[in-house]
Amino acid sequence: MTVREVDVSEVSAMVSRLYQEANIILPPDVVAALQLALDREESPLGREVLLTLLENAEIAAREHVPLCQDTGLAVVFAEIGQDVAITGGSLAAAVDAGVAQAVKEGYLRSSVVSSPCFDRINTGDNTPAMLHTDLVEGDGFDITVLPKGAGSENMSRIAMLKPADGAAGVVDFAVETVEIAGGKPCPPIFLGVGVGGSMDRAALMSKKALLRPAGRPNADARLAQLEAEILDRVNALGIGPGGLGGTMTCLGVAIEDYPCLIASLPVAVNIQCNSARRATGSL
């Protein structure tokens, strides 16, 4: 077995590049989802909002201006092979250095404060990143940066349902979450839903679910069915693009599940806004 060395400087450079890129280039599958929504939206105002968002994506890419002024929390997923040896320093520090570099080079917004329930002092460089590391087999090193804005994040919810609430309870909770949010999370939205695990695991799954390309159903038929049911019921709420009323409130629902305790049914719903930003790279 050979150990592949990866220096943290490479990690910083990759994180910086991905975070800047993600803030300027809307993923092609998201653009396609917006275009599809435009074809289907019944509300004239809703169509105007969607056209505006598509035009915004063009302008951002052309002018190198962030798609949205909330360049977000730098949520970073690092999938690291067990046969990789990280050299040159701390991984977490390197990721934060990459975020700080991106904020400076890419003119991104410093939106992070320390001491959240007391002084709320801006950290000045949008660090720390929200880093999640997964050790996997092999010697790969994949990094995904998902800039996550407050508008959608603030409307996300988690609940510890009773097992008897079942799939219907999951659907009801997800739909209710969107109903309460209304136009505040910048529809059209995407939903990431985590079912099972533990309280924290469900929450993490709900965010990881947002990494799935728009419109791709869960490989499990029953979960795919649940995704479709949530999507239909959410769109029946009539919230529409921008919350101004319409039929295309949500462009995709992704559920991820995991075994959980016999007495529990954790459900987490992470709302993602229309600026569904993400970028992936491999070291």
Partner: protein
């Protein structure tokens, strides 16, 4: 990137707003009216609102004259060289609800943001003769192009949350809540709910 523009709707008449606005200007608007704002608007979000209300409660002067003015709830990204401001789309308005009645009482005529407001907001607009305009949430790059000049006029230490003076040209928005009880968020959702 290709974009299908065959859905371009025939445009309803757009109302031009040139701040400062009179109470009559504001009361004349109706939910659903599409507007283009040209002139001076001021940016302020959570931190600046909190400070302004603190000053009002202490009987002190505000750093800006609010009478007739428009406040835009935005925390822009830093400007890259050659541009007046960075990405500049609206932030979620409801967080400013608790600070707004006192500002309306000083003659603030319109606020620009996104998302529905809380209970009591309709009444506050009606009582004071002001309107709530929505800009498209997520259209930060597009809206930034409407900002022709920008400068910090108060509290630079607040960074993105400082009060900026923006000179805007044809800044697009829609009246979502008027001064007569009209609420497009409510009526729009009711119309398409099934």
């Amino acid at each position: 990137m290709n974009r299908d523009t065959s859905h371009k709707e025939p445009q309803l008449p757009l109302i031009e707003l040139h701040p400062p606005l009179t109470e009559a200007d504001a009361r004349a608007l109706s939910a659903g009216d599409k507007v283009l704002v040209t002139g001076t608007i001021f940016t302020a979000r959570d931190a600046a609102h909190s400070r302004m209300v603190e000053l009002i409660e202490r009987g002190e002067d505000l750093p800006i004259e609010l009478d007739g003015q428009i406040i835009y709830y935005v925390g822009p990204t830093p400007a890259s060289p050659g541009k007046p401001t960075g990405s500049a789309g609206p932030t979620t308005s409801i967080r400013m609800d608790r600070f707004t009645p006192q500002l309306l009482a000083l003659g603030l005529r319109a606020v620009i943001g996104k998302g529905d407001r809380g209970p009591g907001f309709t009444a506050a607009l009606k009582e004071n003769g002001a309107v709530y305009l929505a800009a498209v949430g997520g259209a930060g790059a597009l809206l930034a192009e409407k900002v022709k000049a920008a400068e910090v006029v108060a509290w630079p230490e607040l960074g993105t949350e400082a009060i900026h003076r923006f000179e805007v040209e044809d800044f697009p928005a829609i009246v979502v809540m008027d001064a007569k009880g009209g609420d497009l968020y409510a009526s729009g959702r009711a119309k398409y709910r099934r």
